[in-house]
């Protein structure tokens, strides 16, 4: 599968669409804050990361380890390298500009008429007011609400009470303006120029299910073309993974070959699951299963190389199952693996 970027107008259901696409495809959804955390962690201090989250101008500051390079150039290089062999959905943050001509990227944008978007923002504001009231009564309440993502995003720029109380029209325009300003400052581009997108989805005319279906067709088409280009034989093309990823070891490579042998569709390390956080809510431990089989909604983790890691993996798996109930993960042990390869040896 390619890398998908999703750009959105305020109130166009871009966040909801991204969330559902992630759930359906099994691919990790990365928003702006996560992008900063993942790609800039090696070089940015906590203060710098906070500044980058609220100021596009700060991206032009030089990084400490290399005064010749600024955060924008570093981030662009990191995302480009990462996108060569990873699959994910990047939401907002100008990802479509960072990966403008990347061969594996498909750029999507969600739009809707202003009037409709204002109505949706008004509904979100109502939910947001309830959220604030509940939070006021329950001081420990820290659960994020996906449907309020856009409004919570605005908390960085204007006080929460304003978000709750100003008119939906004003708020919609302020969010739009915030998006536009970010793109204009960072990329000297106009956020209303649509020529860089593969697909623009009008969520006023299309349901989210219809949008998912259209995007799925687009992905399939992309995979077929990529595969045929590699195989050079339309009759023999079997779809498994879009590209051969960089496996960590020979066992993973062999396991992928076995799945291909049985024509079982798979994806390599499509998602990471945080399983431990520190006091400041930063992820300190995550689990990224090696394979995902979409047809079975099944994650597989191979433990074939060094059996010393088995108990550590079991511990992680236990945490994963506690934190993400309903997730279907299985560890493939060395003897499972040997049994599998024995059949056609």
């Amino acid at each position: 599968m390619p890398i998908l970027t999703i750009s959105r107008e305020a109130g166009s259901f871009g966040d909801e669409f991204a969330e559902r696409l992630s759930n359906k495809s099994g691919y990790t959804l990365i928003d702006f804050d996560q992008m900063i955390e993942i790609f800039l962690k090696p070089i940015a201090s906590e203060h710098e990361k906070q500044m980058l989250e609220v100021s596009a101008k700060y991206f032009f500051e030089p990084i400490t380890t290399d005064q010749q390079m600024n955060f924008k150039a570093y981030l662009e290089g990191s995302i480009h390298d990462w996108a060569k062999n990873h699959n994910a959905i990047l939401l907002g943050c100008g990802a479509n500009y960072f990966l403008k001509d990347h061969p594996r990227a498909i750029h999507l944008r969600t739009v809707s008429p202003l009037e409709i978007r204002e109505q949706r923002i008004e509904i979100s504001q109502e939910q947001y007011r309830n959220y604030l009231q509940y939070k006021e009564k329950n001081k420990d309440f820290s659960t994020s609400i996906d449907s309020l993502h856009e409004l919570k995003f605005m908390e960085k720029f204007i006080p929460a009470t304003q978000i709750a109380d100003i008119s939906s029209g004003d708020l919609t325009q302020r969010i739009d303006r915030q998006y536009r300003r970010f793109v204009s400052t960072l990329f000297q581009a106009d956020d209303n120029q649509f020529d860089s997108f593969h697909l623009i989805l009008n969520t006023d005319k299309l349901s989210l299910d219809a949008c998912l279906s259209v995007v799925n067709s687009l992905i399939e088409d992309y995979e077929i073309n990529r595969h045929l280009a590699k195989q050079g034989d339309s009759e023999q093309a079997i779809l498994q993974s879009t590209d051969i990823p960089e496996f960590k070891n020979e066992s993973e490579k062999e396991f992928a070959r076995l799945l291909n042998l049985y024509q079982v569709e798979w994806r390599y390390e499509p998602k990471f699951f945080p399983v431990e956080w520190d006091e400041e809510n930063r992820v300190t431990m995550a689990f990224s299963p090696d394979f995902y089989l979409p047809k079975f909604d099944l994650y597989l983790e191979l433990t074939t190389m060094d059996q010393r890691y088995v108990s550590a993996k079991r511990k992680k798996l236990k945490k994963l199952e506690e934190l993400y109930p309903g997730i279907n993960v299985k560890i493939i042990y060395r003897r499972d693996f040997l049994s599998l390869i024995q059949r056609f040896e």
Binding site: Y262, F296, R335
Partner: protein, 177 residues
Amino acid sequence: MQDNQENNDILFTEQQIAKRVIELGQQITQDYQDSNRPFSVIAMLKGSTYFLADLTRAIKLPLKFDFMAISQVQSATNIVQVTRDIEIDIAGNDVLVVEEIVRSGLTTHYMFEHLEKFNPASINLVAMLANPDQLMINLPLKYIGFEIDYTRVVGYGLDYREQYRNLGYIKKLNETY
């Protein structure tokens, strides 16, 4: 004699196998006797031939059976393909797939995917041996003869490099995965 291993390598004797096959046959007969659909049994070559022969005689229902085989095809795509397909019509039938052993479930799943193209009314699985801990993919494994662990086994149709299939019992190969 092909087999000169000691008796303590035997996991399931001929008598145990015969008794269990009769029990499976009775259970299957009971489960399917009220269905008004035709009943078909499909077995994978070559390992399940003895099990198929014994089991179908223990099922006291009208039935038809057929075989299929899959093999790794050496080609640019290097995939598993059906090399011997069924010749009977199973559309609208209750189908029971017979396997001598189910471990990861990948082979059986491939077989199921293939058979589902023929539009059976239902499809279930009976395995002489299965290791549920090893099962990677969920399958409708309704009937199991015996549960086993990771031990490599031969006999009663199961082979090691085409040997041992004709043993009446099932024994360890003295090698685990």
